[in-house]
Amino acid sequence: MQLLIGVLEQGFIYAILALGVYITFKILDFPDMSVDSTFPLGAAVTALMITKGFDPLLTLPASLLAGAVAGAITGFIHVRLHVRDLLSGIIMMTGLYSVNLRIAGTSNVPIFAHDTIFKNPMISALPKAFAPYAPVVILAVLAIIVKLVMDWYLSTRSGFLLRATGDNPTLVATLAQDSGTVKILGLSIANALVSLSGCIMCQYQRYFEISMGTGSLVLAVASVIVGTQLLRGMRFLGATTAVVIGSVLYKGCVAAALSFGLSPFDLKLVTAVLLLIIIVIGGRRKKVKRHA
């Protein structure tokens, strides 16, 4: 039971990351490598603010903002300076590494002794029986809020343009809109979410670590694919819901691989095979239209 809760907790945290990557990877068709650095960016901002005594709740908007700025810069490099998409992400990822170190001050910042969104006087006041479930509830609420806001946004005029930019840039041009600006906006929103996810992860694990972003793009893309492939038959579930479920399933795969008591050497291989099984099973379902 506790293990399941652990999977859910981490699944929800990475779901927010995956929702961000869903925008760049699926909607804009943009391989945004900067994610590996914007995830720790949110964590660095969070660690700095929390050690300086700010209210943990303030770290959420602050890291959203930091991520949005970073994403906008990646977009600017790509759209205005005409650097290839993959390269502009790599440039941003490389540069941000130093920025993250500067923000956090050092490569590992523990915040065990400070209040976080999961550990504060309000949570401590809850009845004992409920306390172990508080983090998973908070995380579920956060993931659902992000999902709902994203659903709403994608249904607005601006969100429609965003979706059109990935699918059919010509259409955007005929609507007399600049697809470049829309791309920058999309990258900005995506990285804001990635950074928010890093902020929440930092408070959940109660330390910042410079290398915590390594592999986060791969993890997020895997979650997006698992979610959208496996649940493509269930159209009543929106794409965003599928991504959230995909993230939880991905974490479940890793937990299962760990639980089998295999040699640690084989962990990644077993995770890969489990993922492959899920994707193949998902692929067998009847075809449904690509995405919203």
């Binding site: 590992n108 410079i210 962990l267």
Partner: protein, 322 residues
């Protein structure tokens, strides 16, 4: 299909938790990465427990997991230990120990080892008291002894090059101490920071011409590429000093360093006290190895034509290359 997967996952979980109900103690050992020093820590730890009468396979079940240096996995391993409600969690190396301490959440005692600075890592308050149900051993380097030995072996050397990874907090704090103590021994420290193993060749090419010798930390990234460091340094005719026995085995000339097996053993004895209920983790102060050992590699000494003075020779432990 999702339901089937859920069912399979549930069965797997039940099977695993059933294992946890074996006789005696169950502990979870999480190790951050696979490398010589950390492996030695674990070996020593298990020996230490055995010395105190807690023997694996008799009255001890060990759940061992390795995070393969993946930060996301450290969290999951720690959550798994908490879920199977182990009697004690052991975190080897700082990030893994932090993940364990966080997942234990005060309910399960946590033992750390191979953590250089337990205060910076958040396990110990600045006044030396435990931050929670956590204690362990530090692998802080005996830097002063190292500088004295380098001075004794290389009387004319002026500068020492140190390669480190900017992401490793242990290395950053070690360099600060090196810089503070170096003038006392007439050395200048020239450091070069890398972020991945891929950066090491270039960093070395830039660093080696500027220094008279190299001193190696316990930096995980640099240690993984030690063979390369030694190759380039030997080609440039600059000796490389190590920081523990494994590095001397690999070809470092000498090291005032730790024996990680001894460190692990010391940690195992502390863990045994906690398991037997003789003391709570928060009541045992963290420990460091006070007497460093001097390890030397005779083949490399001969290669550089260096002979040890009587003082050093008296306590040097010769280590053969593997």
């Amino acid at each position: 299909m999702k339901r089937i997967i859920t069912v399979i996952a549930a069965i797997a979980l039940i099977a695993v938790s059933a294992l946890a109900f074996a006789e005696g103690y169950t502990i979870g050992i999480g190790q951050f990465a696979v490398h010589g020093s950390l492996d030695n820590c674990r070996t020593g730890f298990i020996e230490g427990l055995a010395e105190a009468g807690i023997v694996e396979g008799e009255n001890l079940t060990i759940e061992y997991q390795n995070a393969q240096a993946d930060m996301g996995i450290t969290q999951q391993i720690a959550a798994q230990f908490a879920a199977s409600n182990v009697d004690l969690m052991v975190g080897i190396a700082t990030p893994m120990a932090q993940a364990c301490y966080n997942a234990a959440n005060g309910a399960i005692p946590t033992i750390f080892t191979a953590v250089t600075d337990p205060i910076a890592a958040g396990f110990v308050n600045a006044d030396g008291t435990a931050a929670g149900e956590v204690t362990g051993t530090s692998d802080a380097l005996p830097i002063e002894a190292q500088l004295a030995t380098i001075r004794a072996m290389l009387p004319d050397a002026k500068s020492i090059g140190i390669l480190y990874t900017t992401s490793e907090v242990n290395s950053v704090s070690a360099i600060a101490i090196y810089k503070e103590l170096a003038p006392k021994y007439g050395f200048e420290i020239v450091e070069s920071g890398v972020s991945t193993t891929a950066d090491i060749p270039l960093a070395l090419d830039a660093l080696l011409p500027k220094v008279d010798c190299m001193s190696n930390l316990t930096d995980n990234t640099v240690v993984s590429a030690l063979a390369l460091v030694l190759d380039k340094a030997n080609a440039a005719g600059k000796p490389v000093f190590g920081s523990e026995i494994e590095q001397v085995k690999l070809g470092c000339i000498a090291a005032e360093g730790l024996d990680y097996i001894a460190l692990g053993k010391q940690t195992g004895l502390m863990a045994a006290k906690v398991l037997k209920g003789e003391a709570k983790a928060s009541e045992i102060p963290y420990e460091i190895i006070t007497e460093p050992g001097l390890y030397v590699n005779n083949a490399v000494l001969a290669q550089f034509g260096i002979t040890l003075g009587d003082d050093l020779a008296a306590r040097a432990i010769a280590v053969d290359a593997e």
